[in-house]
């Protein structure tokens, strides 16, 4: 039975993971996401669903524990925040190179360095460009509510397994720490080892005489063979752009100016659209839900309609590059964003739009 609860985004991730039937969580504490593991440890899912929860000695260890678990065909996840995610990049590259599904939650805080513990969106470029070494991408989902924190656990796993590719839920301290009403889905049963062996024939489930041995690896000494592998991976990314782009439009039908924002910033921008409309300015908002694959086609369509676009993000300007690439000069694209953990107010966004497009 589904259930209505008031909870933090971080708690919602943990609850949703158990209910979706995740097999293993490996993590390391870091603010502002520690509630994820704390909630899991408190709920003791190993007694109910059999889910494994383990505190690792570092983010490097947690991502590699996930790597091992993912190789077994298990649904594994971790969560961290910016500095910890940087440590995981090696592992993510291996996971992508070995074509393994898994889910990583990044509750972003202000950087660079140890930075602040306040919300930021300054890990966008790292997330949508893969983050580690090599030509690969993560599937990146950007929740903008606590409900989506819960819902995207399932969505992220579905996409990760569809493409055999790591998926990231790119959240931030705001969505992680805020509480909202959440409808939690009913408990699902975890997949049995037999079902896994049947459904995921690539997994390291132990070699029976009926099949060749399974090898989870990302190494290939023959460059031509490895180019073929890379082509195969790139084809998956093309397919994602065809089949799995997700976005939300808010008052775009008659919009003359478009705000482009995701996650927490999109929440703020909804209010800004409201304030702009009260002033008689026809503003709309496009919220990418998948940051990779990016809704570039939709933005290009809107480029023929609006007079200007303003990418609004808690960073120095990372999303704005993807927006500019998508519209390819058809319409002016400007950027507004606070940095370092400072959150812009809806009014500041209004001022930025006016300054960029309506004054002078």
């Amino acid at each position: 039975m589904s259930e209505l609860r008031l909870m933090k985004g971080n708690e919602a991730i943990a609850e949703a993971a158990i209910r979706y039937g995740v097999d293993g969580y490996f993590g390391y504490p870091i603010t502002p996401q520690s509630e994820v593991m704390e909630t899991l440890m408190d709920l003791r899912p190993w007694e109910s669903t059999g889910m494994v929860v383990l505190q690792a000695e570092s983010e490097i260890a947690s991502i590699n524990m996930m790597y091992g678990g993912a190789g077994c065909g298990k649904k594994v996840m971790t969560s961290s925040s910016s500095p910890g995610i940087s440590l995981m990049q090696e592992g993510l590259s291996y996971l992508a190179g070995a074509e393994l599904p898994c889910v990583v939650v990044n509750v972003v805080r202000g950087g660079p360095g140890l930075g602040t513990i306040q919300p930021a969106q300054s890990d966008y470029a790292q997330a949508v460009n893969g983050g580690g070494h090599g030509d690969y991408n993560l599937i990146v989902l950007a929740p903008s509510s606590v409900q989506e924190m819960a819902d995207f656990v399932e969505l992220a796993f579905e996409l990760a397994f569809k493409y055999r590719n790591p998926a990231m839920i790119l959240s931030d301290g705001m969505i992680g720490q805020m509480m909202e009403k959440v409808e939690l889905k009913p408990q699902k049963t975890r997949m049995s080892n037999e079902e896994i062996a049947e459904k995921y024939p690539w997994a390291t489930t132990g070699k029976p005489s009926s099949r060749e041995r399974n090898i989870i690896t990302s190494v290939e000494l023959d460059p031509y063979a490895f180019e073929r592998f890379n082509n195969k991976v790139q084809a998956k990314y093309k397919q994602m752009h065809k089949e799995d782009v997700r976005f939300e439009q808010f008052q775009c039908e008659d919009a003359e100016y478009l705000l482009v924002a995701y996650g927490s910033s999109a929440r703020i921008c909804q209010k800004s659209v409201q304030l702009l409309r009260e002033k008689g300015i026809k503003a709309g908002l496009l919220r990418p839900i998948t940051l990779f694959p990016f809704p570039g086609v939709e933005l290009e369509k809107l480029a023929g309609q609006v007079k200007g676009m303003l990418a609004v993000e808690l960073s120095a300007g990372q999303l704005v590059r993807d927006v500019r690439l998508a519209v390819n000069g058809k319409v002016p694209v400007e950027h507004f964003g606070r940095m370092g953990g400072v959150i812009h107010s809806p009014e500041e966004v209004v001022e930025a739009l006016e300054k960029n497009f309506l004054k002078g």
Binding site: L4, R5, L6, T31, P32, I117, Q118, G173, M174, Q177, M178, M179, E180, K181, R267, I268, C269, Q270, K271, S272, Q274, I343, S345, P346, E347
Partner: protein, 183 residues
């Protein structure tokens, strides 16, 4: 209905939990709610604040610059948030430790001396519930029944024996809240 509230005071005064109970009451009443805390070192003492929004429709920004209501529990918060109340809005404060009282003449100001009352009730922990009672008396955004339901949901089962004490504190708050100025 859309009520945007900032609750601000010292860490340890129950600022965040008051906000949570209010938000949960909204959930029980079928509203959309958001609860956005200031988090970090503030949690370990110092100032703490939380933005609570209760609404009949989907909530946009959970972080705001202007509020319908400010519930203020120390001087630093008075200095920081008095000017953020929208004209015609509401400011509720506890007079304990306040050296500069609110000066706005375009908002409604109420005072609830909850710290004093909590010490009379010999339970410092009821402080935030007395304040909540005071606020709900002036602006009954949620019914008392839903507040009690929200309280029950917010408190872990092992603390449910404290429900009557909290109910009494909320009730006491409704009785002692006093009008300072209205527009």
């Amino acid at each position: 209905m859309n009520e945007e509230i900032i609750i601000a005071g010292f860490g340890g005064q129950g600022v965040l939990s008051m906000g949570k109970i209010l938000a949960y009451s909204g959930v029980m009443q079928g509203m959309e709610v958001s609860w956005m805390p200031s988090y970090g070192p503030e949690m370990r003492g110092g100032t703490a604040n939380v933005t609570v929004i209760l609404s009949d429709s989907r909530i946009s920004s959970p972080i705001l610059r202007k509020y319908d209501t400010a519930i203020i529990l120390n001087q630093q918060s008075m200095d920081k948030f008095e000017q953020t109340v929208k004209p015609g809005g509401l400011l509720v404060y506890d007079g304990n430790g306040i050296t500069r009282h609110p000066e706005r003449d375009d908002i409604n100001i109420y005072r609830v001396d909850a710290a004093e009352e909590a010490s009379k009730m010999q339970s410092a922990k009821t402080f935030n519930m007395i304040v909540l009672g005071g606020y709900l008396k002036i602006n009954p955004v949620v019914t008392m029944e839903n507040v009690m339901n929200g309280l029950k949901k917010s408190l872990p089962d092992r603390h449910h024996h404290l429900l009557p004490l909290n109910e009494a504190a909320i009730k006491r708050g409704t009785e002692i809240v006093q009008e300072i100025a209205t527009v």
